[in-house]
């Protein structure tokens, strides 16, 4: 979607186990949800 909008040089960082040990962990595990850092540039 970022590239559809017009962004370039899109980068994605390593996953973070954001919900590990929290109340939302079960849903997060069910759908393999992690947090990520993203970076993109407007040309």
């Amino acid at each position: 979607m970022l590239e559809e909008v017009g962004f370039v040089d899109v980068r994605i960082g390593d996953p973070v186990d954001t919900f590990g040990g929290a109340g939302g962990e079960a849903n997060a595990r069910a759908f393999d949800v992690h947090g990520y850092a993203f970076r993109a540039r407007r040309p």
Partner: protein, 208 residues
Amino acid sequence: MSTITDQDGRFTPVDPEALRAEVRAKYRDVAESPNASFHFHTGRDLARRCRYDMGPVDQLPECAVESFAGVANPFELRDIGSGERVVDVGSGAGFDSFLAAGAVGASGFVVGVDMTPEMLAKSTATAATLGIAHVEFRDGIAESLPVPDGWADVVISNGVFNLCADKRLAFDEVFRVLRPGGTLQFADIANGRPVPEEAMREIDLWTG
């Protein structure tokens, strides 16, 4: 089954205004009772989990950190530079805005945008307590940012776009406020397994 579309006629799985009301209620609680039990972690422990540089975090007062509810570190892939103009989309109680304010220094400026009144009150009070004049918090939503075209060198955000019913509209808005050559650096969640369409229509699952 009804179909919900946004102002440009694009399909959205839930009603955007109903979702905003749900999000406001959830984050009002995070602002007022940050140590309550949520489906996510909060505060300094979460910042450590998200791989923040804890040096600058440790310099912040508890009121700037306790309601932090991000999902990763938007500063991980690029440092914010001195003098840059930054927009923080969904600034909450101001955690990332205050870190950005420290990085840009007095020659830069940070605009935090949030739609939850209790978060705006908290971040504005913290800025006054800290005596930081180059950060300002404004009422607004990701899909309609109160920032002029091309104003920002950098847009940051943390755990916000996943709560927007129309992500395309939100990213279009980020593109508008960035200057040519400007950078979007944000943190958000992504799922490795597909979420069934029925689940996407359940508004409670968006915030819990």
